[in-house]
């Protein structure tokens, strides 16, 4: 166990716990307005203070974590669900036209400015969490396809794959039974990183009003609310900002830590 992994794990776990706990308990109702107590700075009753409607920021952060996790989770799921099979397929047909088409298609998606397309999709098909998920998810597909193909190619040259072929297994079966388990660690690390990018993207989309819609709380929208009030209530911007930064930081550290822990080769060269 290394330090990176532990710190990353703790930060990520904190966010997960906050999100899960919010289903059964929050200090206050996250949507209850309480105008007399508005714009309070963090104190004993309202741990993270209150916003311009007197809503409790701590409760909003907890419920907002749900939105972030849900969006990032499904977006990563789309990336894995479509990208990994494509990557496996491309690797199995290395050098063939299937490989060429898949990889050029990947390059093409990479060439689109992701944020612009995400904004386009959400603007055209309506703002909302679902469209935000799709917009973020599309750009995860080429990432996973590339990582999968990159990890699978050297494996195809190995003896145990040859043995499987001699045993009469087809390319699809070899990909699932032998290649996939051997690149699982690569995929886990990449999933952690894409997860953190998904959280950043969701926050950005919500910030410009194209992500989760009210009354669903989201960290990005909390920041948008804070913008006009930043001079009189800076805590409204600081609290969701720190929530995003600590979560993304935690996931990135977790990814790095996992990479070191799962790949003994890297551990040596890193020193």
């Amino acid at each position: 166990m290394n330090r990176t992994l532990i710190i990353g794990g703790i930060l990520s776990a904190l966010m997960l716990v906050a999100a899960l706990a919010s289903f059964v308990w929050t200090p206050f109702d996250h949507s209850a307005m309480n105008i007399p107590e508005r714009l309070q700075t963090p104190n004993g009753t309202h741990w993270f203070g209150t916003d311009h409607f007197g809503r409790d920021l701590f409760s909003m952060i907890m419920v907002g974590a749900r939105t972030s996790i849900a969006v990032a989770c499904v977006a990563v799921g789309i990336g894995i669900g479509l990208g990994v099979p494509l990557g496996l397929w491309a690797a199995a047909r290395q050098g063939g036209w299937v490989d060429e088409v898949i990889m050029r298609g990947n390059d093409l998606i990479f060439a689109f400015p992701s944020l612009v397309i995400a904004i386009l999709i959400t603007a055209i098909f309506g703002a909302g969490a679902i469209n935000a998920i799709i917009a973020i998810g599309i750009f995860n597909i080429p990432v996973f396809a590339r990582v999968t193909r990159g990890g699978a190619l050297p494996l195809w040259a190995r003896e145990f794959i040859l043995a499987a072929r001699v045993a009469g297994k087809g390319a699809a079966r070899i990909s699932v039974e032998h290649i996939l388990p051997n690149i699982a660690n690569l995929l886990i690390v990449q999933a952690t990183i894409q997860f953190s990018l998904g959280i950043l993207a969701e926050a950005a989309l919500s910030y410009v009003g194209l992500g989760a819609q009210p009354p669903t709380p989201s960290w990005g929208r909390m920041l948008a609310d804070a913008q006009t009030l930043v001079s009189i209530a800076p805590h409204m911007a600081l609290v969701p900002g720190f929530a995003i930064i600590l979560t993304v930081l935690g996931l990135n550290l977790l990814g790095d830590g996992l990479r070191d822990a799962l790949d003994p080769k890297l551990r040596v060269t890193r020193v």
Binding site: A111, L120, I121, Y207, Q227, V230, G241, I245, V248, L249
Partner: protein
Amino acid sequence: MLRYTFKRLLSLIVSLAIASLVIFAVIEVAPGDPASFMLGINAAEDTLAALRAELGLDQPKWQRYLAWVGGMMQGDFGTSYQYRTPVSEMIADRLWVSLPLALYALTLSTLIAFPAGIYAASRRGKAGDVSVMGATQIGVAIPNFWFAMILVLIFAINLRWFSAGGFTGWDEGVWAAMKSLTLPAIALALPQAAILARVMRSALLDVLDEDFMRTARAKGLSRAQALRRHGLRNAMIPVLTILGLQFSFLLAGGIIIEQVFYLPGLGRLIFQSISARDLIVVESVTMLLVFAVITVNFLVDLAYAAVDPRLRART
């Protein structure tokens, strides 16, 4: 080299063609008729039909696609539904904000990242390396629009060194214009610098293990000399790739920062056009951005192939 260039050029053209089709298709399926959007809900049917004819919306889809692509090749990006001005003029106006902003941010990011990455690599595993890398981890995690808000809070609201938003325009003098782009550029540059510094460090670390670095040390160069003369040059390939990618990201990625600072750039143009259903503008600006990304990547690829003959054989 010629063969390689030709092959890459062909794939560039195919990519652009597919990209234009995708963009056109996405815009086509968008709900909402620009004509009825412009005239309001009470417009008479024949007025609507006349406007549709004027905008060319009554023509078959493939004809409109060809007209759009053909026009762009001649520098004609169509006419805005909303303002009735040529889109190319609107883009040109906005580019004068977005392009300098992207270049400014890229310069800042490079100025921060190169020294930080080199320093970290030269202190590998020591306290200096660990703290620089820790700082980059945090830098990567900071959403740039949040950072922008904090910069406004500190430098515009509290210290009053900069204005909180808006753009003076280049007519007011280069100094004033650059000043109004400074906070946005910093907000854009910092997270990018964090990524670039990490790439710089790991590229250098890869090179430091090479035999030629040991030879350089053996022939009497100091660590710093060897790093500067032999290490940096060889580490530049991955760094340049990321720089190319970052430039195109900054051009398009300013979209949210431009919202924070109310800058009249390309990002804001897209935003305003989307909400006004001015789809021809959205279409053309998106295509322009994709064109920029694909072309920058193409040029970066060519530059490598020119420098490193091994890369030509690979594709």
